[in-house]
């Protein structure tokens, strides 16, 4: 099963494409066939255009035949979370609000993937406007976890994680505001990378929380993640928060950077609420690094207990503002039978947004409203400074931090009906967004019930090359990533 075409790695497929033993059309057809076979059970896609994908694949084959192949992604089918704009394609954010929206422009990551020759294949499901941790908050219905169809794939980038795990793409892009790449990667048994804030352009990514959002790849291996990151990273003049960071050859760095590394274990990430099976798998990973000669140090991130509150204030405040543009005037859902402009706005928004989005808009509006700014938003920004400082202090003694990605493995659909319970899914991932750090989730085992477990490695700002090398070191000694769900 793992050697079937749709489950190949990018590295492997690229080698075959280069050798001429595989064509992009062949590969894309296999991915389409796999999608057709499983999609009615997984429901990872919001939309897909098979003929368009085959046209792109044929163009890739033609380039290659002409000796103009563009690199390792040329001809590789890559899926995009449905919050990333592609010119002429639907862009819904899994919201009724944007059910009929067609983007007239490309996101920067889209343009870069096109330039790398990738076959852009399908728009993947998510929690509406990326708000959630289970992909249940989609206006188009939930995505299922390929390892257990009664369970969630995680979220918000659940469609991106599930599609990859199910063999419906060779890599996908997601976005991560508080763990939305890493948590579903962990729950679906794939690699998920959240880059440093500013490494990948946000231009063309539907904004949830501007100061936290980052686009990043889902891939089968750390090497594939490195290939994807190399294609999308780098300064973009269209994003004022894009950082002028050096973009090394991440793939080459995987073999150049050798340990041993000093690995920090933040004690606050191993407390109450951590599933014992998840904890055990992560302990095994720690034991691996120790056995390989890495120095394992316990560290403290003392403001960890404030991460969740800080996150929910900043994220909802920014979201309430970012989502004000959906007003039924220029695009998007528009209520019928309204008589004045306030009704048009209020009813279009009430009809277009789902419950979680409305809840967060209300919270975000409240924390910014007159008289509350200092107590909530400003205070949260100050606590954010302390949280960030915790991480930077820890990096005086260690190279990377190691934690579980999610406190629990994939849970049942409908299991977490209380918003606060759902918010607690992100407790190990949101600190990274608040601090702007890069972090990766790699598969590190399975529960007795056969559910994947993820290991989170947190790196230093813009040192993705080191982070990937540390992750790859673990991955090479294990075979978790080669397993394929029985669908």
């Amino acid at each position: 099963m793992a050697d079937a075409l749709p489950h190949r790695t990018i590295a492997d497929a690229a080698a075959r494409l280069a050798a001429g033993t595989l064509s992009s059309v062949e590969l894309t057809r296999a991915v389409i066939a796999r999608t057709q076979a499983v999609e009615d059970r997984v429901k990872a896609f919001n939309s897909r255009d098979e003929s368009d994908a085959l046209v792109q694949a044929a163009a890739s084959d033609a380039r290659r035949a002409a000796g103009q192949a563009l690199g390792p992604l040329d001809g590789i089918p890559v899926g995009l979370k449905d919050v990333i704009a592609v010119n002429g394609q639907p862009l819904t954010a899994s919201s009724r609000m944007l059910a009929n929206f067609v983007s007239p422009y490309d996101a920067t990551v889209t343009a870069r993937l096109k330039k790398a020759g990738a076959v852009l294949w399908g728009r993947l499901n998510l929690d509406e406007f990326a708000m959630g941790s289970s992909t249940e908050n989609s206006a188009f219905g939930p995505t299922r976890n390929p390892w257990d169809l009664t369970r969630v794939p995680g979220g918000s980038s659940g469609g991106s994680a599930a599609a990859l795990a199910a063999g419906c793409a060779l890599a996908t892009l997601g976005s991560d505001t508080g763990g939305s790449i890493r948590q579903p990667a962990a729950l679906c048994g794939v690699v998920g990378l959240k880059p440093s804030y500013g490494l990948v352009s946000r231009y063309g990514l539907i904004a949830f929380a501007s100061s936290l959002d980052q686009i990043g790849p889902f891939a089968r291996t750390v090497e594939d993640a490195a290939i994807m990151l190399g294609a999308i990273a780098g300064h973009d003049p269209l994003d004022s928060t894009s950082f002028r960071a050096e973009v090394p050859d991440y793939r080459r760095a995987l073999t150049e950077k050798k340990g041993p590394w000093r690995i920090g274990i933040p004690r606050e990430y191993f407390g109450e609420g951590l599933d014992p099976e998840v904890g055990a798998a992560v302990e095994q990973a720690i034991a691996h690094y120790r056995a390989q000669g890495c120095e394992i140090r316990e560290v403290s991130l003392p403001h960890t207990q404030y991460c969740l509150d800080t996150y929910y204030i900043i994220a909802t405040a920014e979201a309430s503002s970012n989502l004000a543009r959906y007003d039924g005037v220029r695009y998007g859902h528009r209520a019928e039978g309204v008589t004045d402009i306030e009704q048009l706005n209020s009813r279009s928004r009430a009809e277009g947004f789902g419950a979680e989005v409305k809840r967060r808009i209300i919270l975000g509006t409240y924390v910014l409203s007159s008289g509350y700014y200092d107590a909530f938003y400003l205070r949260a920004q100050k606590v954010r400074t302390l949280i960030r400082q915790d991480f930077l202090n820890a990096y005086r003694d260690v190279d990377v931090l190691l934690t579980p990605t999610s406190p629990v493995p994939a849970f049942k659909l409908g299991e977490k009906s209380d918003p606060l319970a759902m918010y607690l899914c992100d407790i190990y991932t949101i600190g990274v967004n608040l601090a702007g750090l890069p972090a990766i989730s790699v598969p590190c085992g399975f529960t007795r019930a056969g559910l994947p477990v993820g290991l989170q490695l947190i790196g230093q700002p813009f040192r993705e090359a080191d982070l990937l090398a540390v992750a790859r070191h673990y991955e090479q000694a294990h075979d978790w990533h080669t397993r394929v769900p029985a669908l």
């Binding site: 919050v83 990333i84 704009a85 862009l91 954010a93 944007l98 929206f101 983007s103 007239p104 422009y105 996101a107 946000r202 231009y203 063309g204 990514l205 539907i206 904004a207 929380a209 501007s210 100061s211 003049p237 269209l238 994003d239 004022s240 928060t241 405040a317 920014e318 309430s320 503002s321 004000a324 543009r325 007003d327 005037v329 220029r330 695009y331 402009i341 306030e342 706005n345 509006t365 910014l368 409203s369 007159s370 700014y373 938003y377």
Partner: protein, 483 residues
Amino acid sequence: MKYEAVIGLEVHVQIKTRSKMFTRVGAGYGHEPNTLTDPVVLALPGVLPVMNKAALDAVIKAGLMLGCDIAPVCKWDRKQYFYPDSPKNYQISQYDQPICQGGAVEIELPGPARNIMGEHKRIPLTRIHLEEDVGKLNHFATDSLVDFNRAGTPLMEIVSEPALHTADEAYAYLTSLRATMIYGGISDCDMEKGQLRCDANISIRPVGETKLGTKVELKNLNSISFVRDGIAHEIKRQIGVFERGGTIVQETRDYDGQTGASQSLRTKEMAHDYRYFPDPDLMPVQVDAAWKARLQAECPELPFVKQRRFLEQYQIPYTITSVLVWDRALSDYFEEAAKLAGPGRAQAVGNWLVNDLLREIGAAKTDLAAAKVRPPHLAELVRLVDEGKLLPNLARTVFAQMFATGEMPSAIVAREGLAAAPTDAGELEQWCRDAIAAKPDAAAEFKAGKESAINALKGPVMKAAKGKADPKQVDATLRRLLA
């Protein structure tokens, strides 16, 4: 009881850039609806703002011209309110860290007569900040239509202290502010095109009271005269309310310049809660000394500073100066011509410029830049007259030809044979004797004390001289002979 008004003005000035404030689609006026948009202007899902460097330069320059303190660091905030002309439903603006603080606008109040300079005052500014304009709503019978061409145009908001007291002061403030912006090349300030817009906060209080009264915001004052009229009307209205024993409600009123009436738009109960917070999509602006110095060097001399210099340096009357200094091109033209004409001739240059050239330009419906008469022409004309080479009465003829053709005055004089010939004193005396002999009645009347009768004698003399006699010399000769 005597009342005094306290007025603060909020002026929005569009900055003249080629592209918009936070995206590079073109900015402009008078284009077909929605032809100056892009994904950022329309606030499509996923877009992000990027600052326009030229707009920052312009607002800093404006601040330097008005003597503001330029903040070493400032940031951007989102001002949030829903309105269909605002694509994001927030405006990117500056809340607690405006780029300019303090400063003042110098104003000149009307003098006791047109030719006497009025009192000068400095109206302190609170702040100037940078933001983006909104789109335009067009209202129809059953719906409104939104055009986003204007949306995203760089906009400066210039806020005065509540330090103005009369409608005339407000008028003078706007006149001066507008001239300053035009001088700096910051904006064309065409109010009809919405490039300068003014809201006024007005309250009244009994004279002697130091506490401010309840303020009323007056909106839609869309010409400088409407600002004056609207404020005068509002002051009168508030005094009327007071005198009838009423109280002023805090509200926003709309002034209609056509009817001269105002009506309430909304009262304070419905005031906005803008939920300002720092825009996470934009980085702060840091203005260092070198940047400031570079812009300072580009700042032109302000109109009133120029006025004081002209009065002193060129010794020309206020009536001419006050016309020259309000137009940068005109004052530059003047200075160039005065320099070419040489010392002592500035007033003549000014007279020609203000009285003749501007009149001809107006009549020909052209402008100074297009006029064929350039500073060297005017300078030469003045010099020819002053040196006695061209008689003043012929200079007008030369000017008219020069205006039409752009020929140099010396060339016209030579071609038309208009050069003042040195008049032979004997010949002139003979012409004068002939004239007196021909008009004995006029000569008698003059001798009897009727001063104006001498003019009747000058005609024949000038005729005999074919116009080239110096009128002063003719006058002197006639008087000597009639003495």
